[in-house]
Amino acid sequence: MASFLFGVACLVLAMVALGLFVILRRPAEVDQMMAAQLLGTGGVAILLLLAVATETSSITDVALMLALLAAFAAVAFVRNASDSANEAPKGMSGQ
Amino acid sequence: MNAATLFGLCGAALVGFGLYGLVTNPEPLRKVLAFNLLGSGVFLVFGAISKRAAAAGLGGDPVPQAMVITAIVVAFAATAMAIALVLRLLEETGRATLSSDGPGGTSTDGGNS
């Protein structure tokens, strides 16, 4: 069971990596804001899988922390983008 | 090759990249970022050393881990200080750059502690 869960964690990690690769390369800031969101779900799934696979229940706490702070980071991203848009309409880089 | 060695090597590479960014990037904000990258590389090396020294039923040596926790908090405080300095520089001079003597003089590095 542990190695199966590790395998799924590998797969989810690969998906997160692929998603991050695409997101961080896109020029539009809106796309980049999704990065925290992606880790908020994917990262939490990886950590939960690891917590059960390695039988370390405290890893669940890290997942909880990640879930909270990914939302916080996403708010910071959006604040930044909306700020710059209000100050200077040309602040966003187009695609 | 186990996890400790792997992440230790990763940390060593990050130290190299961080140092490179710190030296070559002219923007102060990017220097602060690079310095943070350098720091976290060092933390990862500490993590590898801690994991390598696992004993007494623990997954790793708790002493380096406690030192890294302290270091992360101190690094945050130093980063906040550096950012405040950069913003003050911008307020005073209207520019966000460190070189005062034109092109070429990028070796000065302030703002990082």
Partner: protein, 313 residues
């Protein structure tokens, strides 16, 4: 075994990739986003190094608060004039070679471990029972290296003083220049009403569980700071002016209590920062609670920046 190795390799490559993005990204905004992602990924990596306490700290500070701080700076620097100086190719080449040498030196230290690997883990475990704590990292932080922890709190306070003192004279005693949403946003208000109660529960849980399992004052304090910042960003509560007595009291209560207990150690246990036998755990828990409050306020004010405006009564 092999599958976990694949996982580790994938994670290490991903961290390196995102880490280099922070250095080589074209815009500062992209670099900062990559840095936040990098912080969250490092938290996942620390779990693999059997350092759950560090993972919690890194997630809270590396991913949350540092990102907040840097994004605020990016927004202000966005319209700043940046001299278009580029470092010349020869300098970059030399820097690259030297940095590669340093990295190689560190790598060789990792690849060639000493014959007898030094470890303090058995000593920590032998003496942990006396302190009544169950978490060895908390034991190191509050018993064996308590002086480090105390001084670190002082460093955080000094950094806050440094940040505050960068304010122009006219703004002294004003309220921090935290960037808030320019216009009221119903969605954000909802999030700022919903998330902080949950976050406060998690923060208190982190602080409480720290004596027994991974967690503690740093992690709890960082979560509380993040929630406070969220409320301030959403405009539900304006940042306090730095002259407020309650603010200053909260800032020093943790270090002051820690110092007081440390000095009491002279009388009760014949050494600075020593705990009288049998009372170690309640004392440490009391210090942790006070420290959680102080850390939360200090980290939040550090992220909020130097005071700027004077109005607000």
């Amino acid at each position: 075994m092999t599958i976990s190795f694949f996982y580790d390799v994938g994670l290490a490559v991903l961290i390196l990739g995102v880490g280099t993005t922070t250095i080589f990204a074209h815009t500062a905004f992209a670099a900062v986003i990559a840095f936040v992602v990098y912080g969250l990924l490092l938290a996942i990596a620390w779990v693999r190094l059997a350092a759950v306490d560090v993972a919690l700290t890194e997630a809270a500070i590396g991913g949350g608060l540092t990102g907040m701080l840097l994004l605020g700076a990016v927004a202000r620097l966005r319209h700043a004039k940046v001299d278009d100086i580029r470092t010349g190719l020869p300098v970059r080449l030399v820097a690259g070679v030297l940095c590669a040498l340093i990295a190689a030196g560190l790598a060789s230290a990792i690849l060639l471990p000493p014959a007898v690997i030094p470890t303090l883990a058995p000593m920590v475990m032998e003496n942990l029972a006396q302190s009544g704590l169950g978490n060895p990292v908390a034991g190191v932080l509050f018993v064996y290296r308590a002086l480090d922890t105390l001084l670190e709190k002082v460093v955080v306070l000094l950094a806050l003083l440094g940040v505050w003192s960068l304010a122009p004279d006219s703004a002294w005693g004003g309220i921090p220049a935290l960037r808030v949403y320019a216009r009221p946003n119903a969605t954000l208000t909802f999030l700022a009403q919903l998330l902080p109660p949950l976050g406060i529960v998690v923060g208190v849980y982190m602080c409480w569980v720290g004596a027994k399992e991974p967690g503690g004052a740093f992690q709890g304090g960082a979560i509380l700071a993040a929630m406070w910042l969220l409320v301030m960003i959403a405009g539900l509560e304006s940042p306090p002016s730095i002259g407020r007595p309650w603010l200053r009291l909260l800032l020093v209560v943790g270090p002051a209590l820690f110092l007081a207990i440390g000095l009491a150690g002279f009388l009760l246990a014949n050494a600075f920062l020593a705990y009288p036998p049998g009372y170690a755990k309640p004392m440490i828990v009391a210090v942790e609670i006070a420290l959680t409050l102080s850390i939360a306020v200090a980290l939040g004010m550090l992220a909020a920046g130097p005071p700027e405006r004077v109005r607000q009564q």
